[in-house]
């Protein structure tokens, strides 16, 4: 059995503790517990990282290298960052930890019915929290195969705590290095036919009656990092009908290459570019899943999803991530009309009623509101 101090499977039934699991893993544990379709995997906990830096004496090294560092001295920051990360990749991992990770990986492979690629992602304790977004400052490694590669990438995730950017950020924001730790997610890789992100509100206005989806072909990293223009679809959250949509160019996709067993970027042909990458039914499925995530957390969510090409319809939509939507606060348009006491009818507003109704009728689906005299 795995020592839950160091390893926790997403479906292990433990409390999603951010201090132990980091933001990403804790969210995956919580979503798995809520019955959401999260691909199987496990967390290498923050305790593992702590034991590693402690047992290996790395903590003292880091302390020494960062002592008195000037955040504006770019060259010093770069060289010390490189030194720390090199140590991180080289120092021996204690046997106990190594053994735990091996067992967990073995279990996961068995569960997936053989040797399958995994994604290795960092799961920082400060990342994904609404107040301080570290998003994008930690690493994700896709399509990793074999135990040796997996452990290498776990180390690289750890090392990403000490990139120049991260070091500078912490120095400038007065964040101490002492309590710093990181968990790592090792998760079955989804063979994504299509993937993307969905937000349970209108990102432009904060209108919470909408679900907005960005989706493109292949693995979702290209959408998340903005390398492709995805299809953009906005739905009414309650009715799950499409309110507006815009086809994106989707010129490239990240897909596994069977030969090299790696992800490769491939051009998307004209015909596939010119049609929406999700069917109507898939659009609704994604929105429903986003709604479930929002309901689970009780606040607007930003989810990552993928449709797995290896799974049958109805079971192929997978949830990769869900985090609170932090950019837009909840906003309801100001009410111009005040209800008349007792009747519920805004009589005074009636002179404006015609205009309102006209505007409303102009939003009928499929019609553009045009003014011939504009």
């Amino acid at each position: 059995m795995h020592d839950t101090q160091y390893i926790q499977f997403f479906d292990g039934g433990h409390d999603p503790d951010v201090e132990i699991l980091g933001g990403k893993c804790s969210s995956l544990v919580s979503l798995t517990a809520a019955g959401m379709p999260v691909p199987p995997g496990f967390a290498v906990t923050t305790n593992t990282y702590r034991m590693f830096v402690h047992e290996s004496g790395l903590d003292a090294t880091i302390h020494r290298l960062l002592d008195g560092l000037d955040p504006d001295d770019v060259r010093s920051v770069d060289s010390r960052s490189a030194a720390i990360r090199e140590e991180m990749l080289l120092r021996p991992v204690p046997d106990e930890l190594r053994g735990q990770a091996y067992l967990a990986y073995h279990d996961l492979m068995e569960r997936c019915g053989g040797s399958v690629p995994v994604a290795v992602r960092s799961s920082a304790t400060a990342e994904d929290l609404p107040e301080a977004s570290f998003a994008g400052q930690q690493d994700t490694y896709l399509w990793v195969t074999g135990m040796d590669n997996v452990t290498d990438h776990i180390r690289q995730c750890w090392a990403s705590l000490y990139t120049s950017r991260a070091i500078t950020y912490r120095l400038k924001n007065g964040i101490q290095n002492d309590g710093l730790s990181m968990a790592v997610a090792v998760q079955k890789m989804v063979n994504a036919a299509t993937s993307g992100v969905a937000i349970t509100l209108h990102p432009g206005t904060g209108d919470r009656s909408k679900v907005t989806i960005d989706a493109s072909y292949g693995v979702g990293e290209m959408v998340v990092s903005g390398q492709v223009t995805p299809d953009n679809i906005m739905l009414d959250k309650v009715m799950l009908t499409i309110v507006s949509e815009r086809l994106g160019d989707k010129h490239a996709e990240l897909v596994p290459d069977p030969g090299s067993r790696q992800l490769v970027e491939r051009e998307v042909d004209e015909a596939r570019r010119n049609r929406r990458c999700l069917t109507d039914a898939q659009v609704v499925e994604v929105a429903q899943m986003a709604k479930r995530a929002e309901k689970h957390y009780g606040c607007p969510q930003d989810i990552e999803f993928a449709f797995d090409a290896d799974l049958p319809d109805g079971q192929n939509l997978l949830l990769l991530q869900s985090r609170p939507e932090t950019v837009h606060s909840v906003k309801i348009p100001e009410q111009k009309s005040k209800p008349a006491v007792g009747s519920g009818f805004s009589f005074g507003n009636l002179s404006a009623l015609a205009a309102t109704a006209s505007k409303a009728a102009g939003t009928l689906p499929g019609h553009q509101h045009t003014h011939p005299h504009d």
């Binding site: 209108h202 206005t205 209108d207 919470r208 009656s209 909408k210 906005m234 009414d236 959250k237 309650v238 009715m239 009908t241 499409i242 309110v243 507006s244 109507d280 309801i332 348009p333 009410q335 111009k336 009309s337 005040k338 209800p339 008349a340 007792g342 009747s343 519920g344 009818f345 805004s346 009589f347 005074g348 507003n349 009636l350 002179s351 009623l353 015609a354 205009a355 309102t356 109704a357 006209s358 505007k359 409303a360 009728a361 102009g362 939003t363 009928l364 689906p365 499929g366 019609h367 553009q368 509101h369 045009t370 003014h371 011939p372 005299h373």
Partner: protein
């Protein structure tokens, strides 16, 4: 600055060519109803065609429905309620079709109307339920009185009793009084018709405007679902048939429903079976009033009513029996509909708080109270009142036919209601003096001439609108009742130029996407041809087509908006619907494989050959 686009226009009424054989059509109708451009303004104003209520050419007598309805709609805006932005709607007939032109209130007069409106509308909204109960009493009394009116040939001599009692009248005055009273009672329920209707729409519009502001882009159908009644009188006739079908199964009477075209034999067959009398009792109870239900829309003299054509309801019962025996659940999923309405309402509510939530609750509550009238009145007016009215009209027509004025009772529809009054006096005069009426020498040829004109007019579809549209349509009733919006008008104008046959678009009236074979229906008499699992494509549907909706997969109509009957019934049955496509029934052919997207309002022909 870009150059201003040239304002596009619909044709002027005076410029549209008259179909061959329809010359002189203007004289079929009263002088004030036909477009004659006497004031000069008829060729200037914007008019739209109300093909939603009057999809086919009027026979002269039938203008009564349009005249009474649109006049009475107007009086409530203009004189009763003082609706701030909107007066009534002017109406005229062009080549047999009804055209309308809404009359806005001048901007500067609007503020002064607001307090009056608040006082008047407020009274209704605050006393809705009790006032509506009173309304039902008034309307039923009108119908009951209409039922007491009879039209019978005059006797050879005045009864002796009348002599003894000194009545001193020959009975012709009863014939004339009854005719006048019939028209008057039709007018009376015409006035009652709109006592609540405009308010129902207003409450709906108020909530609609609020929802569109709070949730920009909220689908119209979401708003409709939140206020729509579920257990409505309009669905009662259909529900009664379903109950009768299930009862027939339960009592083991299904063998009697082999040939429902023969009403007498079917009912006799039921009676002959054990327990049959009991079923007949339930059937008789359902008839009054629920069989006062038309397969048309109540505005035409040829509309068939169940109560006079019991083969129609019996056919539906037979069909329901078959479906129930096949294992289908034929009852409407009322509990699911209520649960879905509650879910939708709750999910939108959850997005609001504070004052906005209070406003949402108040406005939705009011709309949910007031809006069901918009549907339910249909049963009382279009079905029940008009069913009795047309029956009485035919009764009078038969008196004339017997006197040789014309052949069939329905021929009377080729006279205006004023001309019928004249013909009555012709008839009673000849009877009184013992001479010969002029009618039989005048009307048969004249009716044939008029019939040819009406037939010729019927060969031409009406223009959707006339003259230059305003830059924006703002009158709320025009938009709500008729779906006439700025966009709709622009679309009509654009359709002339680029007729893209592949895309048929309309209103996303009821959600869902299905594919299936089309069945194009242009007349209620063709309804029996609809097969299980087909997609109904029709010019317009009537609520009484209810039983059909249990059979089909989706509906496409040429005419009608979010609140058209097809839209409401489809939402009720959980079927996708696209309404107001303008050309669905003329573009799609029976047997074609089509795809109906009730979410986006698009219809596609997937396999053009049927």
């Amino acid at each position: 600055m870009t150059a201003q686009p040239i304002m596009k226009s619909f044709p002027k009424p005076s410029e549209i060519s008259v179909p061959d054989g329809a010359q002189g059509w203007e004289d079929l109708y009263p002088y004030f109803l036909s477009f004659r451009n006497l004031s000069g303004s008829e060729d200037e104003k914007f008019w739209f065609c109300d093909s939603q209520h009057w999809p086919t050419v009027y026979k002269p007598f039938e203008t009564i429905g349009g005249e009474f309805a649109v006049k009475c709609l107007g009086q409530y805006n203009t004189r009763h309620l003082m609706i701030p932005p909107a007066n009534g709607i002017e109406f005229k007939i062009h080549m047999g079709y009804l055209y309308m032109s809404p009359i806005p209130v001048p901007e500067e007069q609007i503020p002064a109307r607001v307090p009056e409106f608040e006082r008047r509308a407020g009274h209704y909204f605050q006393n809705w339920d009790t006032l509506l109960e009173g309304w039902k009493v008034k309307v039923r009394a009108t119908i009951a009185e209409m039922e007491t009116l009879h039209f019978a040939p005059l006797p050879d001599m005045v009864p002796f009793d009348d002599i003894v009692q000194g009545v001193a009248k020959d009975g012709s005055e009863v014939l004339m009084e009854n005719y006048d009273r019939l028209i008057q009672l039709c007018y009376q329920n015409g006035q009652y018709h709109f006592e609540f209707l405009n308010l129902g729409y207003l409450a709906y519009l108020d909530f609609f405007g609020f929802a569109k502001e709070a949730f920009p882009g909220i689908p119209d159908q979401a708003i409709a679902k939140m206020v729509q009644g579920v257990d409505m009188e309009l669905f009662r006739p259909d529900d009664e048939l379903k109950k009768l079908a299930l009862l027939a199964i339960e009592m083991d009477l299904t063998a009697a429903f082999d040939n429902t075209d023969d009403v007498e034999a079917t009912l006799a067959g039921v009676r002959a079976l054990p327990g049959g009398e009991q079923w007949i009792e339930v059937y008789e109870e359902a008839k009054d009033p629920w069989f006062n239900f038309t397969v048309g829309n109540g505005f035409y003299g040829h509309d068939k009513y169940w109560i006079e054509h019991q083969d129609i309801p019996l056919g539906y019962i037979k069909d329901y029996i078959r479906r129930a025996l096949d294992g289908h659940d034929i009852m409407r999923p009322v509990a699911e509909l209520v649960a879905e309405r509650d879910r939708i309402t709750q999910e939108y509510r959850d997005l609001l708080d504070g004052e906005a939530l209070a406003a949402f609750d108040a406005k939705r509550g009011l709309a949910a109270t007031a809006y069901p009238y918009v549907e339910n009145h249909n049963f009382y007016i279009e079905h029940w009142t008009m069913g009795v009215f047309w029956r009485k009209v035919r009764e009078l027509g038969a008196v004339f036919a017997q006197a040789g004025f014309w052949q069939a009772p329905e021929d009377m529809l080729y006279l205006t209601r004023g001309e019928v009054r004249d013909a009555l006096f012709d008839y009673v005069t000849a009877w009184a003096v013992g001479g010969e009426p002029t009618g039989p020498h005048y009307w048969p040829a004249e009716i044939e001439r008029r019939r040819r004109i009406v037939d010729a007019l019927s060969t031409q579809r009406p223009q959707p609108a006339l003259n230059t549209p305003p830059a924006e349509i703002t009158e709320p009733f025009t938009m709500m009742l008729y779906g006439i919006t700025t966009e709709q008008v622009q679309q009509w104008l654009a359709a002339d130029e680029q007729d893209d046959d592949a895309a048929i678009t309309g209103m996303a009236a009821s959600p869902g996407i299905v594919e299936g074979y089309a069945r194009v229906i242009t007349h209620a008499d063709e309804l029996s041809s609809v097969q299980e699992g087909e997609i109904l494509v029709a010019t317009i549907t009537a609520p009484s087509w209810g039983p059909i909706f249990g059979k089909i997969k989706a509906t496409v109509t040429d005419i009608g908006g979010m609140m058209s009957h097809a839209a409401i019934v489809c939402r009720e049955y959980g079927l996708p619907a696209v309404t107001g496509t303008g050309k669905g029934s003329t573009t799609i052919e029976t047997g074609q494989f089509i795809r109906v997207d009730g979410n986006s309002g698009r219809v596609e022909i997937l396999e053009p050959t049927g």
